[in-house]
């Protein structure tokens, strides 16, 4: 198999936890991510699922190079990030891009859409002059935003789905080989979600783009991913081919996630009430 574009080799992330009871208590270390290895190959979609606090976003930040791992290492095209030359580090920052969940917060509110999308062109690709405007227009066009209508608008004038497309256009501007997407569709309406997923899938097929898709929506995982990794408490508890894992989950968390996903079928109502009553009588702690 080819060399992975991006790879985590046994990475851990330790955060210090100070005791609240005593002023001079010894600081303990919390393992937010504990010895995880992941390899992403060209054109591959890897989904990372897990509940909030399981460490999935922390792993994403390490793979983006935003957070140096406490243990282990991140490799870009086979070479450890720490060992990259200045030139290679620039290539890494250009080729590994990110799309965030909160489209309201990840775009500069004072920049027009065209300015936001142009920044990677100017800084990562060193593009200058009229070529920038041409490229911005073609990127907006690719994500289904008519350049004439959207170029000069500000983020607050756009809907969530439109802003998410701007986020994707900006990530695409650097001509990346991997996009790390942290819950990119969970804030979107169901009707728009499908459009953004189709866009991401089209870009993957056209450009051999790979994704690390951080989500807790199993519908999204099934629709887009090839492989799925399930994280719990910083550890990898299950990993493999999407259809295999989702049709026959081994780990309790994956089973719980599958059972919790709402299905548009009212006949399941009785089951929910029964479950609610049972949980309450047993006094189970809520998640």
């Amino acid at each position: 198999m080819s060399t992975p574009i991006l790879e985590a080799r046994g990475v851990s992330q330790l955060f210090p936890i100070r005791s609240k009871q005593r002023l001079f208590a010894r600081t303990t270390m919390q393992r937010a991510v504990d010895g995880i290895s992941v390899a992403i190959h060209p054109g591959e979609v890897v989904a990372l699922v897990g509940e909030s606090g399981s460490g999935k976003s922390t792993l994403g930040r390490m793979m983006l190079g935003l957070l140096p791992p406490s243990e282990g290492s991140i490799h870009f095209r086979g070479k450890a990030l720490a060992a990259l030359s200045a030139e290679e580090a620039r290539t890494f920052r250009r080729e590994v891009q990110v799309v965030f969940q909160d489209t309201g917060a990840s775009l500069n509110p004072r920049h027009t859409i065209a300015q936001s999308v142009a920044i990677p062109l100017l800084h990562n690709l060193g593009m200058r002059g009229p070529e920038v405007a041409r490229r911005v227009d073609s990127l907006l066009d690719q994500v289904g935003l008519a350049p004439g209508r959207f170029r000069d608008r500000l983020p607050h004038e756009l809907s969530g789905g439109q802003r998410q497309r701007v986020g994707i256009a900006r990530a695409m501007a650097s001509d990346p080989s991997v996009i790390i997407a942290d819950e990119p569709v969970s804030a979107l309406d169901v009707s728009v979600r499908a459009q953004v997923l189709e866009l991401m899938d089209r870009l993957r097929r056209q450009r051999q783009l790979a994704y690390l898709f951080i989500t807790h929506d199993l519908g999204v995982v099934r629709a887009l991913a090839d492989r799925v990794l399930v994280m719990q408490g910083g550890r990898l508890v299950e990993a493999g081919d999407v259809d295999t894992i989702l049709s026959n989950p081994q780990c309790a968390y994956t089973q719980r996630l599958l059972a919790a996903t709402p299905v548009p079928d009212p006949s399941r109502q009785g089951r929910r009430l029964a479950e609610a009553m049972r949980q309450n009588t047993l006094g189970e702690t809520p998640p």
Binding site: E51, G219, A223, P262, P286
Partner: protein, 331 residues
């Protein structure tokens, strides 16, 4: 038959900016009985939240106001109440929870005191501490006494939402309005909150208005459903017939957009276009520019009225019968 818990009659909401008046809700009618969960579904911008704000007279901007219609709580009209009377309705008779639990909690005050605040604001100063613990217990929060002393940042998103529900129910209101209460939460945490709401509905005989864009959530928790599009209710029915035989193309479009076990990129369905703004509402049926079944000369000329059907429920579609039959044949 006695009056329903809440009855919204022909409600219209408008936003007035300068000389312009924008109708964001137009002639919405629905009612909620005790012990019933009613879903209000639609995309962002369809007027769901505006309808909820209208019920509580709690508009986020002073430019929004009720333009027509009536809201009755146990038969009594809420229109024309004084600010003082409103304060007795909100919290005491109608509780409300919102999408983002963290922005409704004060980060500097322990959560128990914030739940108690609801009680104190309504003059209940006796035994507040015991009532707060009882409420946290009812919300299935373990170690209520310990949780009550914590600050919002020490709790998870799901726990914070439970705190807000506790505060909303502190005065035992008969009606709870929940505006996207689980949208910001993980799927497993969402399931916990939905189970909780279902249990509270049954145990406290609580009426719930659940606003959401997730039809899966509606199917699992509601008894009655109203589908809203561009400020109007386009279809209303019991949850079982609505999912079995949806009659409005918009309802069918929303159902088709849900990612199921067979959904794969490459053949995902989405409704083309987006919800029109109140400024550029299309002529005729409001959905016709996005509707695959729109008929020239019918759908683009007259806005269809809300028709009550013999088989139950109501809808605003000139071709409802054929469209519902086509859905059933395909299923």
């Amino acid at each position: 038959m006695s009056a329903p818990l809440l009855e919204v009659r022909n409600l219209s909401v408008e936003i007035v900016t300068g000389k312009e008046k924008l109708r964001v809700v137009e002639g919405a009618s629905f009612s909620i009985a005790r012990g019933e969960c009613v879903g209000l579904v639609g995309e962002s911008g369809s007027g769901k939240s505006m309808s909820a704000f209208a019920i509580l007279n709690l508009f986020p901007s002073p430019q929004a106001r009720i333009a027509g219609g009536d809201i009755l709580l146990e038969g009594r009209s809420l229109r024309g109440l004084s600010p003082r009377e409103w304060r007795q309705v909100r919290g005491a008779q109608i509780g409300m929870v919102f999408q983002d639990p963290s922005s409704y909690l004060d980060p500097l005050i322990p959560v128990g005191r914030q739940v108690a605040e609801t009680l104190r604001a309504h003059g209940r100063n006796e035994g507040t501490e015991a009532r707060v613990l009882e409420l946290l217990d009812l919300m299935e929060l373990p170690n209520a006494a310990e949780v009550a002393r914590k600050y919002p940042h020490e709790l998870s998103g799901g726990m914070r939402q439970r705190i807000l529900i506790a505060a909303a129910l502190a005065l035992r209101p008969a009606l709870l309005i929940a505006d996207e209460p689980t949208t910001a939460l993980d799927v497993t945490v969402q399931a916990g909150i939905l189970n909780l709401l279902t249990r509270l509905r049954a145990e406290l005989d609580l009426g719930i208005l659940l606003i959401t864009h997730d039809l899966g959530v509606v199917a699992e928790t509601c008894q009655q459903v109203h589908v809203m599009y561009a400020g109007t209710i386009v279809e209303q029915n019991g949850v079982e017939p609505l999912f079995r035989r949806p009659r409005h193309p918009y309802t069918q479009g929303l159902l088709g957009s849900v990612l199921g076990p067979e959904s794969r990129a490459g053949n995902l369905f989405s409704i083309p276009g987006s919800v029109p703004g109140a400024r550029d509402m299309p002529h005729g049926c409001r959905f016709h520019p996005r509707c695959p079944a729109a008929k020239h000369g019918v759908c683009d000329t007259d806005e269809p009225p809300l028709v009550i059907r013999a088989e139950g429920g109501s809808d605003r579609c000139a071709r409802a019968g054929e469209i519902a039959n086509a859905w059933e044949r395909a299923a």
